[in-house]
Amino acid sequence: MATSLGKASPPSDDKRWKIVAGTMRRHGYSRNALIETLHTVQKSFGYLDRESLRFVAHSLRVPLSKAFGVATFYHFFTLKPPGEHACIVCLGTACYIKGAPQLLTEVEKSFGIKPGETTPDGRVSVLTARCVGSCSFAPVALFDGDVAGKLGAPEMAARLRRWDRP
């Protein structure tokens, strides 16, 4: 089935698909734009789902298997919807030797979730990062994007508890 350039129709009439289409158009619907486009999808929707991968793959004329391969190869992309709030614990070397593992133990103890998981009520996701580059303040975690440095386990639990209750 021949498809004309970029004529795949978006999965829904959600306006965010226009932003995604904009990225593809800016790159002339080139296959090389796959990663750039997936960045836009994740920025707009928070994660990559089956529908969006299908739409992007179709629009850029990339086999779905390749799009899926790229989406799963890179750590930055996530296929699961994130929780309402995200806490990213840095596991860079400086953070590691200054106690980042203890922070994760604390999270597991207090909330019963491991890195990459979301609390059952969907409020809090805990993720890890390879290094966020704030090594001077190790150990570091990002709470919804805000960097908090020189963290101890009690402070970590307290910050998360603030999100726990509405």
Binding site: N32, I35, E36, V70, T93, C135, F137, A138, V147, G149
Partner: protein, 548 residues
């Protein structure tokens, strides 16, 4: 943009600066920003706006001043006063003291080894100029090198200066930059590309991030000069998606450079056209490897391919491609402006110039430093870095990230250059230096890096994919006190096999942390295996501590 117009911008900027009596520079690089330095800037601005000072006092955002551990940092010009640990509440006092001498309780002397022992080339503007205003970069002699290269030099002369400087790749491998440029310039085929590798993946390293956040124009200028030298008309900066601030500042910098005609067509009224685009990485360490990076820019999985052909012959979109690291390119404008011979006067016989390091871990002054090559590790850690915090003893310094090694106390008097570090079983790497004290276990550190390499292995070649997993299992067993001496032998055999048979640098260097810790801290391994005891008390095999 003509040279005259550039001089005009410089003159205007200098004149407007002279009209201002005091300038307050607030660090808004990632480190201080995470300590809310933007709020300090706002409160200073609010006070300045209320007082009739507006004409003679200016508050501005600058990049990293280096001493991140003492942040948030604010400096006052022209007096040169530097304040540490500033809070918004300190703002009124700082402003009251502008004409009355420094606020003593906040002041930190610049007459300390941390500042005195540094030589700044790459970081010369860092913490001094507003990274979001191209005019300030121009006023700091920015883009003079580009004008000089385009109007007075042939591409061959530019390459000659870079070769004479002795500059070697700052991404870690240390390949001579001039030689690389020459190869791409001579390569047949068009178009050619220049790629700036800003995929700083080493955990514990943030040099490139700071340069991009503090002085992005310098990197653009280096890239444009590189493009002119090798005959490319398009460049890409491959930057980590995890560095949002660096991405924002780079985008601003590119827009401003285009606006001034320093990027685009007919730059400086010459026939030379050059454009730069950003490409975001997506969190894959292997993409620091050049062929994997190219695959990623082409929208594919970041899997490396065998070389040759090298990217210089067949790289991005199968065209000749020059790939340089951020810091390498950031050295270029100064080399052209001051001459290759000037640069070659810094450093050692085989490692010229300066190197930026990120000092972190168990050290008093964590932050960013730039020192001449050849300074000893002891000087860097104990003089510049102020040594390890009281009550603990230095054990090792880790350089080169997951591809590097741990260097023990007895080798600290070694000069830091590419060759000495390689001899000690580590590598220069991109410049992360993580200091460890007696509370760190070397087996645990080796396990940490092996876990990293195992999960970052792209899976294309078997030695790396399977070998790192096997080595990780062995290290996990050792750390849990469940291994035998036979396991240790197998670990050593695997190190050798993975090192010599892997496809790319990731696998080839993955055993380094194990080999170097086995070489210098073998007793710690033996203690885990023979006595089921972790001397540092980190690993789970340690018996519970007895309370006295």
């Amino acid at each position: 943009m003509t040279p005259d117009q550039l001089s005009q911008i410089e003159a205007d900027e200098t004149a407007s600066r002279q009209r201002i009596r005091h300038r307050l520079n607030v660090c808004l690089a990632a480190g201080c920003l995470s300590l809310n330095s933007d709020a300090i800037k706002k409160s200073l601005e609010a006070i300045v706006a209320e007082r009739p000072l507006t004409e003679s006092c200016q508050v501005k955002a600058v990049g990293c001043m280096g001493l991140c551990s003492r942040g948030p940092l604010v400096s006052v010009e022209p007096s040169g006063t530097l304040y540490q640990g500033v809070k918004s509440a300190d703002s009124p006092e700082i402003i009251e003291h502008l004409s009355a001498g420094p606020v003593e309780r906040l002041e930190i002397s610049r007459q300390v080894p941390f500042f005195q022992r540094q030589v700044n080339v790459v970081l010369e503007n860092s913490g001094r100029i507003d990274p979001e205003r191209i005019e300030e970069y121009v006023a700091a002699e920015g883009y003079q090198a580009l004008v000089q290269a385009l109007t007075e030099m042939t591409p061959a002369e530019v390459i000659d200066q870079v070769s004479r400087s002795g500059l070697r790749g700052r991404g870690g491998a240390g390949y001579p930059t001039g030689l690389k440029w020459g190869t791409v310039a001579k390569a047949a085929g068009a178009p050619k590309y220049v790629i700036c590798n800003a995929d700083e993946g080493d955990p514990g390293a943030f040099m490139d991030r700071s340069v991009l956040e503090s002085d992005p124009q310098r990197v653009l200028e280096g890239m444009i000069i590189a493009g002119y030298a090798v005959g490319a008309s398009r460049g890409y900066i491959y930057v980590r998606a995890e560095y949002p601030l660096a991405i924002t500042r780079l985008s601003t910098a590119i827009r401003q450079a285009k606006h001034l005609g320093l990027l685009g067509t007919q730059i400086c009224n010459t026939e030379f056209d050059f454009d730069i685009d950003l490409r975001l990485g997506a969190g894959a360490f292997v993409c620091g490897e050049e062929t994997a990076l190219i695959a990623s820019i082409e929208g594919r999985r970041g899997a490396p391919r065998p070389r040759p052909p090298y990217p210089a012959q067949s790289g991005l979109f199968s065209s000749p491609t020059l790939i340089n690291n951020v810091e390498t390119l950031a050295n270029v404008p100064t080399i052209i402006r001051k001459g290759g011979d000037w640069y070659a006067g810094l450093g050692t016989a085989k490692s010229k110039g300066t190197k930026v390091f990120a000092l972190t871990g168990k050290i008093n002054c964590t932050g960013l430093i730039e020192v001449p090559m050849g300074m000893t590790l002891r000087e860097i850690i104990f003089d510049v870095g102020g040594g390890v915090p009281e009550g603990h003893k230095f054990k090792a310094v880790q350089t080169g990230g997951p591809s590097g090694g741990c260097i023990p106390e007895q080798l600290l008097d070694m000069p830091v250059d590419y060759d000495s570090l390689a001899q000690a079983g580590s590598i220069m790497g991109s410049g992360g230096m993580i200091v460890m004290d007696d509370s760190s276990c070397m087996v645990d550190v080796a396990k940490y890096f092996m876990e990293f390499c195992m999960s970052e292995s792209c899976g294309k070649c078997i030695p790396c994919r399977a070998g790192t997993a096997q080595m990780y299992d062995l290290l996990a067993n050792i750390s849990e006190g469940k291994a035998s001496l036979g396991d240790l032998n197998m670990l050593e055999d695997l190190c050798d096999m993975v090192k010599h048979t892997s496809l790319c640098g990731l696998g080839q260097s993955a055993p380094n942390p194990v080999v170097s810790t086995l070489c210098h801290f073998r007793d710690e391994y033996l203690s885990h295996i023979e006595d089921q005891r972790c001397p540092a008390g980190v690993c789970p095999c340690s018996p519970p501590e007895v309370l006295s």
